[in-house]
């Protein structure tokens, strides 16, 4: 061993002064790529808490935790991510129904306490909140199927010649394909007034078990075929799939499930409970709310009789909804089940004051859902002229089989579903139809789809028009005079903008008929004075408590008279409420506190 061997290792010190081969420390720490999958971010305002991210996560890394009170269209839950599970596969981001969930390009997180590796993005503040870069749902790509299976429909030119149903209905394949789009979040359950078990029956349809689907459907809706055809479907309005794509065709799927069976009684197997045996309940008015009360009380063993003034049950769904939307056989199928459930049905029978008193005495409880059967008038001069008719009368006469004349041209005043129905019926009766509506098109309470269908059938829409008066012309026609309106903001939050008449302008429209469909009211002439005095409000509707009971103990009410939305599903929801209330009242004798 020489000196060289001893010194050689120290030669390495020479390198201390040469340029290093390694990359300087400051350059080694690179930011994540623009589409790096780093820590999650969430736009909590956009997020609706559907929980699809939690469902898809293969590592069970996502918990849905409550962060605010649930409202319709928002479960109030938000995803909390456990980074002791996450593997940054980003399936949660790709499946996100709202596109609110994303990933920042931050990827460094050193932690002493492992319990802290869990946070709710967007709720718990993190340095990477609001990150511009990172993984996002790709434009046009989603794990959610955004497009609805199209519903086959009759051609508009063909359908105005006939009364055949416009909507053809899904085939089995189409229905199952559509049902498979559902993410089962249940936001629809909150939006549905009756809180139907929507994800469950859609799931059953997807699995091809239509009996099970019908069972879920009938669990809290005794007129599902009607709802499957004409429901206002608030469920679809909040559908989480519909936020970025088209909402699930919930209504058409329900329709599909009900159309699979000719006789519901053969498929449904309700657990008949004899809880209400020996108790009698009278139902005045055979509309959706009355039918609901009757059916569910009957399966619980109550003795129920329905009194209906018209020749068929169904209320507004019978006399109001045209048959090209809701054919008679569909209605009869549902009434048939009611009969098989043991409900006594008295049609063509109008209950009057004395009988009402007698019913009140003979029964343990009484439910009325007589609906809004009388039209409000236009309130303008000339409305008593011959040729000014009411949409409700037109529809009723048409459905009970009377001959209806509408002439060559009509103007329909109003913008609700009744107005649209009256116009489409008039169109099928051969008239040129104009709808005169006070507000803008987007303010119309009628279904958007209905308006589109009406326009496709050649019905003209004149918006922001306020009727001024009606005059008789020498040629026998009517002169419908209207003035334009401007929109002013609503006086209460959540209200609709209001039309304000621009004075001094008059427009003329020559028509054979003016059909009024501005609104309907309930009538109480049949009701004994003392009862009416107690239950009716100064606005012409009936107030009930949370059990559906009116101010008069033992009298329950529901339907259009009670709720503000005046649609069939709300009426069914009222009925369900009353079912509980009546059961409590008759069996437990609970008198609900009046406040």
């Amino acid at each position: 061993m020489s000196l060289k061997h001893v010194l050689q290792p120290f030669n390495a010190w020479v390198q201390a002064f040469s340029k290093p081969y390694t990359i300087p420390m400051k350059d080694t720490m690179r930011p994540g790529a623009d589409r790096y999958r780093g820590w999650h971010i969430n736009d909590v305002e956009k997020c609706v808490g559907c929980g699809t991210c939690a469902d898809i996560c293969q590592n069970a890394a996502i918990d849905m935790v409550p962060v605010k009170d649930p409202v319709k269209g928002d479960s109030g839950l938000r995803p909390k991510i456990d980074y002791g599970r996450c593997c940054w596969c980003a399936l949660c981001v790709d499946v996100c129904t709202t596109g609110s969930l994303g990933m920042s390009n931050e990827y460094t997180w050193v932690e002493k306490d492992p319990e802290k590796c869990r946070y709710t993005p967007g709720v718990d503040a993190k340095p990477w909140d609001g990150s511009e870069k990172g993984w996002r749902q790709e434009e046009g790509f989603s794990l959610i199927v955004k497009d609805r299976v199209p519903m086959p429909m009759l051609d508009p030119k063909e359908r105005i010649k006939t009364w055949a149903e416009v909507v053809v209905g899904y085939s089995v394949e189409e229905a199952r394909k559509e049902a498979a789009r559902c993410v089962s979040c249940g936001l629809c359950v909150a939006a549905c007034p009756a809180h139907m078990h929507i994800p469950d029956y859609i799931g059953a349809i997807r699995d091809g078990d239509f009996e099970k689907a019908l069972d879920f459907i009938y669990d809290n809706n005794p007129m599902p075929e009607m709802c499957g055809k004409v429901c206002t479907r608030r469920c679809e309005g909040v559908c989480s799939v519909g936020i970025q794509g088209e909402p699930l065709a919930i209504r058409w799927l329900k329709r599909f499930a009900t159309e699979q069976f000719e006789d519901f009684a053969k498929v449904l197997h309700p657990e008949v409970k004899r809880v209400g045996e020996g108790k009698k309940v009278a139902v005045v008015g055979g509309g959706p709310s009355g039918v609901t009360v009757a059916y569910y009380l009957a399966v619980r063993g109550f003795e129920v009789t329905i009194y209906e003034a018209l020749p068929q049950l169904g209320g507004a769904t019978f006399f109001g909804i045209p048959k090209y939307r809701f054919p008679m056989p569909s209605l009869e199928k549902q009434v048939d089940l009611l009969k098989k459930a043991g409900v006594k049905i008295v049609t063509d029978h109008r209950v009057e004051k004395d009988e009402f008193r007698r019913l009140l005495e003979e029964n343990d409880a009484l439910f009325f859902g007589t609906g809004l059967m009388k039209p409000y008038k236009l309130g303008v001069p000339g409305e008593d002229l011959e040729g000014v008719i009411y949409a409700l009368d037109l529809l009723r006469d048409h459905h009970v089989g009377k001959k209806v004349e509408v002439g060559e041209s009509v103007v329909v005043v109003g913008g609700g579903n009744v107005a649209i129905d009256a116009s489409r019926v008039s169109r099928r009766l051969g008239a040129e139809v104009t709808i005169a509506y006070r507000r803008r098109r987007e303010d119309m309470p009628a279904d958007d789809e209905e308006i589109e269908d009406a326009e496709a059938e050649g019905i003209e829409l004149v918006t922001q028009s306020i009727p001024l008066r009606v005059e008789k012309l020498e040629n026998g026609k009517l002169d419908f005079i209207w003035g334009p309106a401007e929109m002013v903001p609503p006086d209460r939050p959540g209200g609709r903008p209001k039309p304000k008449l621009i004075e001094g302008v008059e427009n003329h429209l020559q028509v054979d008929r003016v059909i009024v469909a501005i609104g309907q009211k309930g009538e109480f002439e049949w009701m004994p004075e003392e009862v009416a005095e107690k239950v009716v409000t100064s606005r012409g509707w009936v107030e009930v408590d949370e059990t559906g009971m009116t101010q008069w103990p033992g009298i329950f009410a529901g339907g259009d008279l009670v709720n503000s939305t005046a649609d069939a599903i709300s009426a069914i929801a009222d009925g369900l409420k009353a079912v509980e209330g009546i059961q409590q009242f008759t069996l437990e004798g609970l008198s609900v506190s009046k406040s």
Partner: protein, 150 residues
């Protein structure tokens, strides 16, 4: 009519409200329709509230009028002029009430022209605005109840 002080104007306004109240009371008694009857009774209560408000202003408990600025819909101008019948409906009742508020508004507007005192003018203006507000509220109710468009 000539007013010499604010007190006089307010007294007059109180009398007007009382008159209206009596009018609605009478209609409530006479009408057979249960809804209309209830509505008129509610209106009696409304007029009492207005009366109380005016009295509060008079005694200095309230400093002035405060309209909520409900937007006008000019419905009153379009609708016909129903007269009172025994079987009057809520719709007609509402129109009558709308018209009554409008008449009151026009009366105060007219009186304003004769007022010489600035203070008086101001109080009359306030009263007119108040009545206009009532009218708009009636129109709003009409809009929500009658023209529900379902």
């Amino acid at each position: 009519m000539e007013f010499n002080s604010i007190q006089e104007v307010l007294d007059f306004a109180v009398r007007q409200e009382q008159k209206a109240g009596r009018f609605y009371g009478l209609m409530a008694e006479k009408s057979t329709d249960v809804v209309a009857r209830k509505f008129f009774r509610e209106m009696v209560g409304e007029e009492r509230k207005h009366e109380a408000k005016l009295k509060a202003i008079k005694s200095g408990k309230l400093s002035g009028f405060s309209g909520q600025g409900t937007p006008q819909m000019n419905l009153t101008e379009v609708l016909g002029e129903p007269v009172f019948r025994e079987d009057i409906t809520l719709q007609e009742g509402l129109i009558i009430a709308m018209r009554a508020e409008k008449d009151a508004y026009e009366m105060y507007e007219g009186l304003k022209a004769f007022a010489r005192d600035e203070e008086l003018k101001k109080i009359l203006e306030g009263l007119a605005a108040e009545e206009l507000e009532h009218k708009a509220r009636m129109e709003s109710i009409y809009d929500q109840v009658v023209q529900r468009e379902n």
